[in-house]
Symmetry: C2
Subunit: 134 residues, 2 copies
């Protein structure tokens, strides 16, 4: 007997609070948008669209919407801090490796001296209660 687990919401959400970043990418929305979307593609993820906003004489805030969920980035160049979120769902396969690659390459881009990182497993309840089909 084989079983199939129906799973959709299931995925890995990586949360980073980044301190003492390199300021190069923190106050240029055009550059940050270009680099972020490229990092998503490099990780094998599917970019559906994005929205980035440049605050006047300040930081950048933006998201890239993926077929597999999203990346969000908010920067404060005045203190060289960045809030980074990478959420990648496992709709057709386990995409945890892609989530880690995207998170790690974004951190490499921003060059923080200190990272507070959390990993949240999404859809845990769903996996525990998923229908099993014989």
């Amino acid at each position: 007997m084989t079983s199939m687990i129906i799973s959709t919401l299931s995925g890995l959400h990586l949360i980073g609070d980044l301190y003492q970043c390199n300021p190069t990418h923190l106050s240029d929305s055009t550059l940050l948008r270009k680099r972020c979307t490229q990092l998503c593609k490099d990780a094998g993820l599917t970019v559906l669209g994005d929205f980035f906003y440049q605050f006047e004489d300040a930081g950048v805030t933006g998201t890239v919407v993926l077929a597999e969920s999203h990346i969000a980035i908010h920067t404060w160049p005045e203190t060289c801090t960045v809030a980074l979120d990478v959420f990648v769902c496992n709709h057709s396969r386990d995409n945890s490796d892609k989530a880690h690659q995207l998170f790690n390459t974004a951190v490499e881009l921003l060059q923080p001296k200190k990272v507070i990182r959390k990993a949240v497993v999404r859809g845990r309840y769903e996996r525990q209660t998923a229908h099993r089909v014989a």
Copy 2:
């Protein structure tokens, strides 16, 4: 002597895995986008822009970018599940009340029978180490 804490990244991130939702809003990106942006405004948050995508004969994925950070929503109508994120920063004031209002009204909209909710305090390290100016 008075002190001022310089704080930027600091904020509240509410994460929801929603199960057994009402399907009404889960497969209509136009409707979901309209409702989400209105809920942000109702909570006193500033909408900068958004991107929503309609999967063919399936769910919706989208984000609303706020001056105070973002809301992200990903739906799977085939299982009536939704991944919901509300991240609201405290740049000029403590916006935790607005984060809770937005999260709670989004949950009311989607009407899940089961919610797995997590609250992540962002920028905790920054608050602990913030410069204090006499």
